[in-house]
């Protein structure tokens, strides 16, 4: 481990306040998006106006932190102009990179702003050396954010084959659908994850308490889960719900339990493998959450780089359903 590259810590910023917290807590870079369908967390009360983005970029740059702008949805035909405008704006405001998924958006950046770095979003679902090489060859992609489906040894192998940097998720939401290839929300609600940046939109959510004390969580016309009186009801994300099928008695988590990725114990292995950047998920999370998680991982990465045992803060209280997993990183048995 003597020629280790120090990975950048990439932190979520759903609001200007969260961005300042992340910068102050030692983020190497923050990622954030605009208040429209151009980013995959297009939720009410989140994201940045152009003015906020301008000020936030200045704040981040003054603190030595980069700003990566998420333009990681897929413009539907007839609406590509909005995505191009957001690229123009990002270039004008001095963004350090744009995180993109759609070929049209990537091609526009390459043609119009050849000096603006392109990071390939996890939404592009590039999960093989060939897919990644395609995006590097065509658009000069500088970094790929890997889907959360690879073991550390697979990542190590991949890094030897591809001509760009690699960013992996280390903490936060642990969805099992291939990102960028899921239209479950659109099937239920009429709002699309890929085109509108919506995932189980709050406006379509209902909680219904029954006489027996059970609580049903409902999205559109479908019950996503039903919780006993003693259980804490979670948010009705389709791929985190409980369902029934002929092979099972009673409800089961057909896709994945409500559980969070926490790769803190895998950090030395990931650094050793040569990963260039660690991503913390959670633009929908509070400023306090961002501050705590960023500070904990700043400390951990710095300790490892200094050859010390990292003091890993207990982050389980911050995870979804207070349950955590190393996800795919440790073993492929989860598949």
């Amino acid at each position: 481990m003597n020629a280790m590259v120090k990975p950048e810590l990439i932190c979520p910023a759903g609001t200007p306040a969260a961005l300042r917290s992340a910068v102050d807590a030692g983020a190497d870079a923050v990622y954030c998006g605009y208040q429209n369908a151009t980013n995959a967390r297009n939720f009410v009360g989140l994201n940045f106006t152009p003015e906020e983005m301008e000020k936030s970029i200045r704040y981040a740059h003054d603190g030595g932190t980069k700003v990566l702008i998420t333009l990681n949805t897929f413009p539907p035909a007839g609406k590509v102009e909005l995505w191009k405008e957001m690229v123009d704006l990002s270039a004008r405001l001095g963004a350090d990179a744009c995180i993109v998924a759609d070929i049209a958006v990537a091609a526009y950046i390459r043609d119009t702003y050849p000096d603006l770095r392109i990071h390939l979003s996890v939404q592009a679902a590039a999960s093989s050396p060939e897919a990644i090489e395609y995006y590097v060859r065509e658009f000069g992609v500088k970094r790929v954010v890997l889907p959360r489906i690879m073991t550390v040894s697979e990542i190590r192998g991949l890094l030897k084959e591809i001509p760009c940097e690699v960013e992996t998720f280390i903490f936060g939401n642990h969805g099992l659908m291939v990102e960028g290839r899921c239209s479950l929300t659109n099937y239920v609600t009429g709002q699309s994850t890929n085109m509108d940046g919506a995932c189980s939109p709050a406006a379509c959510v209902k909680y219904e308490r029954a006489d027996d004390g059970s609580m049903s969580t409902i999205l559109g016309d479908y019950m996503i889960d039903r919780f006993g009186p003693e259980e804490t009801a979670g948010y009705p994300t389709i791929c985190k719900g409980r369902y029934k099928c002929d092979a099972r008695d009673g409800g089961y988590y057909a896709f994945e339990e409500p559980i969070s990725l926490n790769a803190s114990t895998m950090l030395p292995d990931l650094i050793n493998a040569g990963v260039h950047a660690f991503k913390i998920e959670g633009r929908q999370r509070s400023r306090a959450y961002v501050k705590k998680v960023v500070a904990a991982f700043r400390e951990a990465v710095d300790s490892i780089m200094a050859g010390q045992e990292p003091r890993l803060a207990d982050l389980v209280a911050l995870t979804e359903g207070q349950k955590q997993t190393e996800g795919a990183l440790k073993t492929k048995k989860w598949r």
Partner: protein, 306 residues
């Protein structure tokens, strides 16, 4: 251009004999002009059919006058999938339909088709891919009419084909995890091919017993069957050139003849739809995506759509 009726790739894990019989019948009795063959969901399934029977089935269909297109994997991760994809990409003589960007690395400046599992949402992406050799685009099921109209316009300008799925369960999501194996408390590596028990997929119901989604290995499909028969004239007007029906265990000869008769104007939509409803499919028909609504909706066609 005359509209074409196509048979999409079989997404499910049917026994080899059943598949061979199925395609023999398609060759003899179905009016489809094009048949897509090849495993697109799970590379573990290929030893049963693709690796053994595919060339003979393809030739049989071609002798019956069908165009055969090979459809390729949607998820490409492990070495074996990468190798198979590379071999398929080099193959001469038949078009390859691409469902993962990994294939595009090998296909630059060679004619190929873009499958309905690859993300082409807009006219700029379509033009980009056409510039590199894509000649035909099968569109994503979730696209609304407004987007399809813009893509149809661009396709005409580029001289490429546009295909829309008009029948069968719609693909909604892909994963690296096998949900069929999970339902049976197994892992993907130890799946014992339980997906073969469910030739139209495994129904997932909500906790209050409402059928919701369909599991097919790593794929999640709609429970409802797409039926866009009533929109065929409208789609032709906005530039759709090919209409895709997806294989299911219902009588696909009846299905393909009904669509062909409607396309050719031999029967009206009401009669065609009546035939589909006599097939004994338990699941409801859906058309919400095309109408810009939730995908599980059925929106009766009233008058002119916006």
């Amino acid at each position: 251009m005359n509209p074409s009726l196509t048979l999409g790739p079989n997404l499910f894990h049917w026994p080899a004999e059943q598949r061979i019989d199925f395609y023999n019948r398609i060759a003899d009795e179905s009016p489809v002009s094009t048949v897509y063959l090849g495993e697109v969901i799970c590379s573990k399934r290929t030893p049963f059919f693709d690796d053994v029977h595919l060339p003979a089935v393809a030739e049989r269909l071609e002798r019956a006058g069908k165009t055969v297109v090979y459809s390729s994997f949607s998820e490409v991760v492990i070495k074996r999938e990468r190798n198979i994809l590379m071999e398929w990409s080099k193959q001469e003589g038949r078009d390859l339909e691409v469902n993962n960007t990994a294939a595009l690395l090998h296909l630059k400046d060679r004619p190929h088709r873009i499958g309905g599992l690859l993300n082409v949402y807009n006219e700029d992406t379509m033009a980009y891919l056409a510039g590199q050799g894509a000649t035909h685009f099968s569109l994503l099921p979730e696209l609304p009419r407004a987007a399809i109209a813009r893509l149809g316009e661009k396709a005409r300008e580029l001289g490429v084909g546009v295909e829309v799925q008009v029948f069968g369960r719609a693909s909604l999501a892909l994963s690296a995890r096998c949900y069929h194996a999970r339902a049976h408390e197994r892992t993907k590596d130890n799946c014992q091919f339980v997906c073969g028990d469910d030739p139209d997929g495994m129904t997932l119901m909500t906790m209050d017993e409402k059928p919701f989604l369909t599991i097919n290995g790593i794929q999640t499909l709609s429970y409802g069957y797409l039926d866009l028969m009533a929109d065929i004239d409208d789609m032709r007007a906005i530039g759709v050139t090919h209409f895709r029906v997806m294989p299911h265990t219902c009588d696909m000869i009846v299905v393909t003849r009904a669509f062909d008769d409607v396309l050719a104007g031999r029967i009206d939509v009401a009669e065609g739809e009546a035939r589909l409803r006599e097939l004994g499919i338990e699941a409801p028909f859906v058309n919400g995506f095309y109408r810009g609504r939730a995908g599980h909706d059925w929106v009766p066609r009233v008058t002119e759509m916006a």
